[in-house]
C-alpha cells in the first residue's frame, strides 16, 4: 500500500486523468459500498427530481401549444346575463363570413353531459362541413356513438347512457384511439340529432361558432368587426387567449407539484450529509499524506471518487426522468396533477425541446456536488498529516 500511491504520484502528477489513480479511487469506493450506494441513489434521485421539475411544465406547455395549434383561430359564443347561450347556426355563419378576413366559419355542437362514470364531453360531427375522422372511423348515425378510451358502459360495454336535457342510450360503434388520449379520453362523438337532444339545443341552433382568419397573428384586430356583425352579445376568444388560459392552469398545477418536491429534496440531502459525516475518514488522509501522497494526488483522488459516483448517477437520474415523462401512455401526471378521479388519460408527450432541461438538471446537481467534492479534496490536500494523525488518536 505504501509503494503504490507514491509510484502513482511520481508517474501521474502532470496529467489530470490517471487510470491507476482512477482504479485506486474506484477501489476506495468499493471499500464503502453502503456509503457509495446511498450517495449514488441520492444523486440519481435529486437529478431525476430536478429534471422532472424542469421538464414537467415545459413539456405540458409544449403539448398544449402543439394541440391548440390545431384548434380554430377564433371561437364566437353567444352570451347573455346567465352566461353561455346557443346561437342560430345559419345566421351566425352568414354574418361571420361577411367580415373580411374570416375563413371557414363552422357551427359546432358540443357540451358536457353526465356519462356512466362522470362527466363526458359530447360532440356532434354530422352537422359540420367536410368532416373526415382519422383512423378510418365511420361517422355515427342516430343512436350511435364513438366513445373515448375513458368512457365505458355501466352494464353493457357496447352501450352508454348519457344524461343531459334528456337521457339517451347510444350504441358504441367504435372506440377512439388510446394514443390520442390527451384529446379524446372522455369524449363521446355522436350524431347531431342525439347531441342536440342531449344538450337541449333547438332546431338550427349550435353551441358556438368556430372560424379561421386570414392572418392568425392579427386575429385580435378582427374582433370588434366580428362582434359588430353579429346580432347578439358575444364573447370572442382567440386561440392565443385560450392557450394563455391553458398555460396558466398548467403552471399553477405544476407549480404546486414542484413545491411538494422541495421537502423531498431536503430529506435526500439530509441523508447524504448524514452518511457523509458518518463515513468521514480523516485518519486515512493522514496516512496517505504521511506515505508520500502529494496534495494534488489527494485532490485528484477526491475528484475521481466524486466523478465515478456522480456521472453515472446523474445519467441514471436523467434517464429515469425521461422515461417517467415520455413513456408512451404515461398516466401519473394526469392522475396526480389534473385531478382525475376515474381512469386517467394516457399521455403521449413529445420530447421536443427537452435536451436543455436534461443539461440544466445535470448542471444544477453536478456543479454543487462537484464543488463540495472539490472543497473536501482541497482541505485534504492542504492538511498537515501530523495534525490529522494526532487528532485521529
Amino acid at each position: 500500500m505504501t509503494e503504490m500511491p507514491h509510484a502513482m504520484s511520481q508517474a501521474t502528477h502532470r496529467k489530470f486523468w490517471s487510470p491507476a489513480l482512477a482504479s485506486w479511487a474506484a477501489r476506495d469506493l468499493m471499500r464503502q459500498p453502503a456509503f457509495t450506494l446511498v450517495l449514488f441513489v441520492a444523486l440519481a434521485a435529486v437529478t431525476a427530481l430536478a429534471a422532472l421539475v424542469l421538464l414537467l411544465q415545459q413539456t405540458l406547455a409544449t403539448a398544449s401549444t402543439r394541440l391548440l395549434e390545431q384548434a380554430p383561430h377564433v371561437v364566437v359564443r353567444r352570451v347573455g346575463a346567465g352566461g353561455w347561450l346557443p346561437l342560430d347556426a345559419k345566421a351566425a355563419r352568414t354574418r361571420a363570413v361577411s367580415v373580411v378576413g374570416v375563413l371557414r366559419p363552422r357551427a359546432r355542437m358540443w357540451g358536457v353531459v353526465s356519462g356512466p362514470q362522470g362527466a363526458v364531453t359530447l360532440m356532434a360531427v354530422d352537422g359540420r362541413d367536410d368532416i373526415n375522422l382519422p383512423s378510418g372511423c365511420s361517422l355515427p348515425q342516430p343512436g350511435q356513438a364513438l366513445a373515448g378510451p375513458g368512457v365505458s358502459g355501466d352494464e353493457r360495454p357496447d352501450h352508454i347512457s348519457l344524461n343531459g336535457s334528456v337521457s339517451r342510450e347510444l350504441t358504441v360503434i367504435g372506440r377512439l384511439p388510446r394514443s390520442a388520449g390527451s384529446v379524446v379520453h372522455d369524449l363521446v362523438v355522436a350524431h347531431a340529432e342525439d347531441v342536440r337532444a342531449l344538450l337541449g339545443l333547438g332546431p338550427g341552433q349550435a353551441s358556438d361558432l368556430a372560424l379561421d382568419v386570414f392572418h392568425p397573428d392579427e386575429a385580435g384586430a378582427l374582433l370588434p368587426e366580428l362582434a359588430a356583425a353579429l346580432d347578439w352579445p358575444v364573447q370572442i376568444t382567440t386561440r392565443q387567449e385560450q392557450l394563455g388560459r391553458h398555460l396558466a392552469h398548467i403552471s399553477r398545477a405544476t407549480g404546486m407539484a414542484c413545491l411538494g418536491i422541495g421537502p423531498l429534496l431536503l430529506a435526500i440531502l439530509s441523508v447524504v450529509v448524514a452518511v457523509g459525516i458518518w463515513g468521514r475518514r480523516n485518519w486515512e488522509t493522514g496516512v496517505l499524506r504521511a506515505v508520500g501522497w502529494t496534495g494534488a494526488d489527494m485532490l485528484r483522488l477526491h475528484l475521481y471518487r466524486g466523478l465515478l459516483v456522480g456521472l453515472p448517477a446523474m445519467a441514471i437520474g436523467t434517464l429515469t426522468a425521461h422515461l417517467l415523462l415520455f413513456w408512451p401512455g404515461m398516466t401519473w401526471v394526469p392522475q396526480l396533477l389534473f385531478g382525475w378521479s376515474g381512469p386517467p388519460p394516457g399521455f403521449y408527450l413529445s420530447s421536443t425541446g427537452s435536451a436543455g432541461a436534461w443539461l440544466l438538471s445535470m448542471v444544477m446537481v453536478g456543479v454543487p456536488f462537484m464543488a463540495a467534492v472539490f472543497w473536501t479534496g482541497w482541505r485534504a490536500a492542504g492538511a498537515d498529516p501530523g495534525d490529522i494523525l494526532e487528532g485521529g488518536r
Binding site: 362522470g118 360532440m123 388520449g181 384529446v183 344538450l199 358556438d208 364573447q235 456521472l311 445519467a315
Partner: protein, 94 residues
Amino acid sequence: MEKSMRRARLLVWIAVMLPLVTIMTLTADRYLRAGRQDRAALRWMAALDFPSPAFWPAGTFQRHPQFLPPAVDVRMSPLFDWDRDGRLVHPSPR
C-alpha cells in the same frame, strides 16, 4: 489484490461508459420519437375542431374556461354554477 483491482477497473469503465450510453440512448429516443408520439392526438384535435385538450376531466373550469360567465375572473365561485369539486352544475349552453 489483483481481483479487487480488476473489479475497480471494471467500475471505472462502467462509470465512464454508462453516461455515454445514456446520452446516446436519450438522443436516439428524441430523434426517433420527438414530434411523432402525439400525432394521433393532433389529428383528432384538428379533425374535430376540438375545444380544448383532455388534460383535465370534462366539466372542470380548467378544461372549459369558456364556460365561465364573461364578467367573472377565472376562479371558482359558489354563485356561478360551480359545485364544490370545481365542476359545472349546468355545463351546456342554455
